[in-house]
């Protein structure tokens, strides 16, 4: 037995090696890549391609690692490529610099400094990162650089004077989902199952508090301790035993599949489920459709015009993404929207386009309407920005996403 004791001591080392090294096997920080898009796209052009001094825009993205967000910057790049092919902004092409932070704080900090100080970008646009806002928010404020975030993820994306995301994000998005469950679906016993991401907890608490303040209601049951690789069955059973009518959960796309599989395995079909935009993917619908789970139960919010539907609002987006080979997802909508707003801002500037003039234009940007979003985008000089307060909700029906709400569910202010 003593031999085993000795060997088990070694096991700690293995566990450590696995826990630390395993998760980031292919994501050595610092391996950032820079993609410039100065070369015009090969689309048919109506105007000569822009050749004057480029306008530099930057973005910091999590492109390698366990959770990646490649679509937003790819979509933004497609928008800028088209602008360049059509003659740029008053003859000046846009040079769009995409940096990878590998979901590493040091990588994100370096990327921002490279873009802001070495490249001298006039603004940041279309970024989508696990931690970029938390790392760089204060730096942008110090440097006077403003960012139209393509996909705000970490809480500080929605709490910075210099960052205004086009998406609702997982916190206000959670408030909207709770609001949808209690006010639109009209369920009484609203429950919360939440994956435990330590740094995100205060923002989630604030999101739930906001729902309480708006509706005067309380959660019937909640559990904040789910882990990403848990068997979710006990939590689903807990919610059922507590008598929940509807469960509102966060999570990645795969988790919604897991929840629906667990509900199906347990034969629970009288409890509604509401998820965030992360669950709104074609894969989720297809996978659940193929095993016949979640139909009529799973609802997800779409922070933009729902991309799986044949909405004419999305014709241009769909054509451009398809041509550029960008997957049709919510993230691609965010990147497209951020880039489109930026192009309009740049076009609206009289005189030279510099970091100062772009910043000034963004600070004056209020009430920007676009049919892809249900509440106007704004920047302005507020200490924090979360302008997208509207969602459309979809329900899974036989492996297809159907509109659960024709109109936008807009979160009341105040």
């Amino acid at each position: 037995m003593r031999r085993i004791t000795t060997i088990l001591a070694v096991m700690g080392i293995v566990a450590a090696a696995c826990g630390g090294g395993g998760a980031t096997e292919e994501t050595a920080p610092g391996q950032t890549t820079t993609t410039t898009t100065a070369a015009p796209a090969t689309t048919a052009t109506t105007a000569p391609p822009a050749t004057a001094e480029p306008i530099k825009l930057g973005s910091v993205n999590s492109l390698t690692g366990q959770i990646v967000f490649p679509e937003a910057s790819a979509a933004a790049k497609a928008v800028f490529d088209r602008v360049n092919a059509e003659g740029g902004i008053d003859g000046r092409p846009i040079e769009y610099l995409i940096e990878d932070d590998a979901a590493d704080p040091a990588g994100a900090a370096q990327a921002a400094r490279r873009l802001v100080e070495d490249e001298g970008v006039v603004a940041m646009v279309g970024s989508a990162s696990l931690l970029e806002c938390a790392v760089n928010g204060a730096y942008y404020a110090e440097q006077g650089v403003y960012a139209i975030q393509g996909t705000g993820v970490d809480p500080l994306c929605f709490a910075s004077s210099n960052i205004s995301p086009v998406n609702t994000g997982p916190y206000l998005g959670y408030t909207v989902s709770l609001y949808f469950a209690s006010e639109v679906l009209g369920k009484d016993r609203v429950c919360a199952l939440i994956f435990d991401i330590p740094d995100f907890r205060p923002a989630m608490d604030a999101a739930i508090q906001q729902w309480r303040d708006l509706t005067g209601k309380e959660l019937h049951f909640s559990n904040f301790t789910l882990q990403f690789t848990d068997d979710v069955t006990p939590f689903v059973l807990q919610a059922r035993d507590a008598g929940c009518e509807v469960v509102v959960s966060n999570g990645l796309d795969v988790h919604y599949i897991g929840f629906m599989q667990a509900l199906q395995a347990q034969g629970i079909d009288d409890m509604a489920w509401v998820g965030l935009t992360s669950g709104y993917t074609a894969d989720v619908a297809e996978t659940l459709g193929s095993i016949g789970a979640g139909s009529g139960i799973l609802h997800v919010n779409s922070e933009f015009e729902p991309f799986t539907l044949d909405s004419p609002v999305l014709d241009d987006w769909r054509a451009l993404m398809t041509e550029a080979g960008v997957p049709l997802t919510s993230f691609a909508e965010g990147g497209y929207l951020a880039a489109t707003i930026m192009v309009d801002v740049l076009r609206g500037i009289d005189g030279p386009i510099t970091r100062e003039s772009v910043s000034e234009a963004l600070l004056a940007l209020e009430g920007y309407e676009h049919p892809m979003i249900g509440s106007p985008y704004s920047f302005g000089d507020a200490p924090a920005h979360n302008p997208n307060r509207a969602s459309k909700f979809l329900r899974l029906e036989g492996g297809e996403w159907q509109l659960a709400t024709d109109d936008w569910v807009v979160l009341p202010t105040g």
Partner: protein
């Protein structure tokens, strides 16, 4: 509450199967196999990839188990060839190297994004009063019962089983007496790999997986095998079910819910302390 306990049977069955595999290789070939779960994870991921490219579910799972058995047999061959005379500590340390190797190769091949594994017979369940038994629960519990019976019979009643026990105790003597050492060892490793592949395949559909989290199933398996003293198959099985039950029930208690994933470590520490309780300083040092 009862349904939560029932739901833990799937994980428990998988822990028990993995634990029994560890006991098997330890008793028969004298190796504490740290690569046990990662080999199973490798097989299961092969099955997932096969399923994704269109291979029917059942066939893909069988292919995964075959891959796990083959990889494990390969490790067994290395053990029999080059480490037959080495001490248990050396051989076990070799499996740590193998563990890391298979882990890294798996990352290269399969990536590290979480994947969804379709359930075994989705929607199939047996309801007894208020208790729901899912297909995966039945497969897990049934698999454990069959394996336990087979191992007990094989070790106690068959000549091969007895020879294997002899091989693990005194390899050279056994070989001098004419035991076909290499073939037997490789066969044991292959069987143990197949069991690991099946265990991981059973547990994979019940949770959102990434490759690393499946490989780390070695921890509850080690805890279970340790409670069984790396000898007693029955105790190992009970321990596997017990650890899963504690983990899942822990999720219901807010005060400990956040810490439930450390259950295997607590079990390992507790077991080690208990086993050392009669050691005197000089010996235990």
């Amino acid at each position: 509450m009862l349904n939560t306990a029932i739901a833990s049977l799937t994980s428990g069955g998988a822990y028990a199967l993995l634990g029994v595999g560890l006991v098997l290789t330890y008793r028969m070939t004298g190796v504490l196999n740290f690569a046990h779960a990662v080999v199973g994870a490798f097989g299961t991921y092969t099955a997932i990839v096969a399923f994704e490219v269109g291979v029917p579910y059942g066939l893909a799972m069988v292919a995964g188990i075959v891959v796990a058995a083959s990889v494990s047999a390969g490790i067994g061959l290395v053990m029999a060839r080059w480490f037959a005379e080495a001490t248990t500590i050396v051989r076990s340390t070799v499996t740590i190297a193998v563990f890391l190797g298979v882990l890294v190769v798996g990352f290269r091949l399969f990536g590290d994004t979480p994947r969804v594994v379709p359930a075994i017979l989705p929607g199939v369940r047996v309801e007894v009063a208020t208790v729901t038994l899912t297909a995966s629960t039945l497969v897990a519990v049934g698999g454990v019962a069959v394996l336990a019976a087979a191992v007990a019979w094989f070790l106690a009643k068959t000549r091969t089983g007895i020879i294997l026990r002899a091989v693990s105790e005194r390899p050279t003597t056994a070989r001098l007496l004419g035991a076909p050492l290499q073939t037997l060892v490789v066969a044991v490793w292959a069987v143990s790999g197949a069991v690991a592949g099946a265990a991981v395949a059973i547990i994979a559909p019940t949770r959102t997986n990434d490759y690393a989290s499946l490989a780390i199933l070695i921890l509850p398996a080690l805890a279970a095998a340790l409670l069984g003293g790396f000898r007693r198959v029955g105790v190992t099985i009970l321990a596997g079910f017990g650890i899963a039950l504690v983990e899942l029930l822990g999720a219901r208690v807010p005060a400990v819910a956040q810490y439930r994933t450390v259950v295997p470590f607590v079990v390992i520490l507790g077991a080690l302390l208990w086993m050392q309780r009669k050691e005197v300083w000089d010996e235990a040092r």
